[in-house]
Symmetry: D3
């Protein structure tokens, strides 16, 4: 039962979720040579106030950009 | 400090959470031969629009069923 | 597809793994009111040199005990 | 790309998040001898009704304390 | 910094890892409308003695099949 | 029970693990205003053949560098 977990910023468009999970399922089924039925994909979101890169929260990086 | 993480659909009944974490703690304590005090259990939820099986979102599977 | 992930010290006895995953599957199936077939359980191990509690590696705690 | 994931009770003070991710980035960069730019830190929260220690939900432990 | 984590049985062919991570990166970049450079993909393996479906370890299921 | 999980390349020096987990414990205890005793830190490693950035495995990136 391969499981693919995607963590990123919020994805609000359900169609993007449909395409993303469909494509990831196909890639995983091909790599593991398993039927698509056993591939599980989970999308998780992290808010920009909860992620830092290089020690700076994403939310602060955006503020900078708008300066 | 064994940790058990359960990911599933939302569980709204707090009594189910109590029973689930109690039982999982007992199983883990027995398997690892450790006191129950050091077993941590975490329940996480994934919405049906964020999980796919076989490339189809759970939320779309439910729609099908109701057709 | 609820998934239960158990992280703990290495479990070498395969029968303990059988019992642990069987019991956790039953607890999860009951809590989520889902058939056991859709419950996935994954056991992961962390070595005592890779886990700390209170800022002290488990491997160092064991050394202390033997003093 | 080392990634640090912190799971704990909700942190409401954004300044605590800033300090926490900054310090963790510095610790990780030093340990892995990598530039801070490649260190990602993610903060996740678990509500007290979703975490148990010793088989007791945190939310129930708090209720006890207030008795 | 979206991160894709794939957990499945061991993948021994490095070319399959190349294709899998390349395709997942492209899918994620498209969904999140972000440059591919910020997409991280991690492949993790779980041995068949450490995963159960329906309360039965994968390793026991294989034994059955060979009977 | 806040838990800090660090995923990165293999760390072979046990003293680096001691320093890293000690520092992360102190940062987490301060942020959550909890005693250090309840902070768990787990170090996990990912091999360069199992991680990609921008669709390229880390192991291939190193090969390039040495050209």
């Amino acid at each position: 039962m391969p499981t693919v977990t995607i963590e990123g910023p919020p994805l609000t468009d359900i169609n993007k979720k449909r395409t993303l999970t469909k494509e990831m399922t196909e890639s995983a089924a091909k790599a593991y040579q398993l039927p698509k039925d056993v591939i599980v994909v989970v999308i998780k979101k992290n808010l920009p106030e909860n992620v830092s890169v290089g020690g700076q929260l994403i939310i602060d990086r955006h503020h900078k950009k708008s300066e």
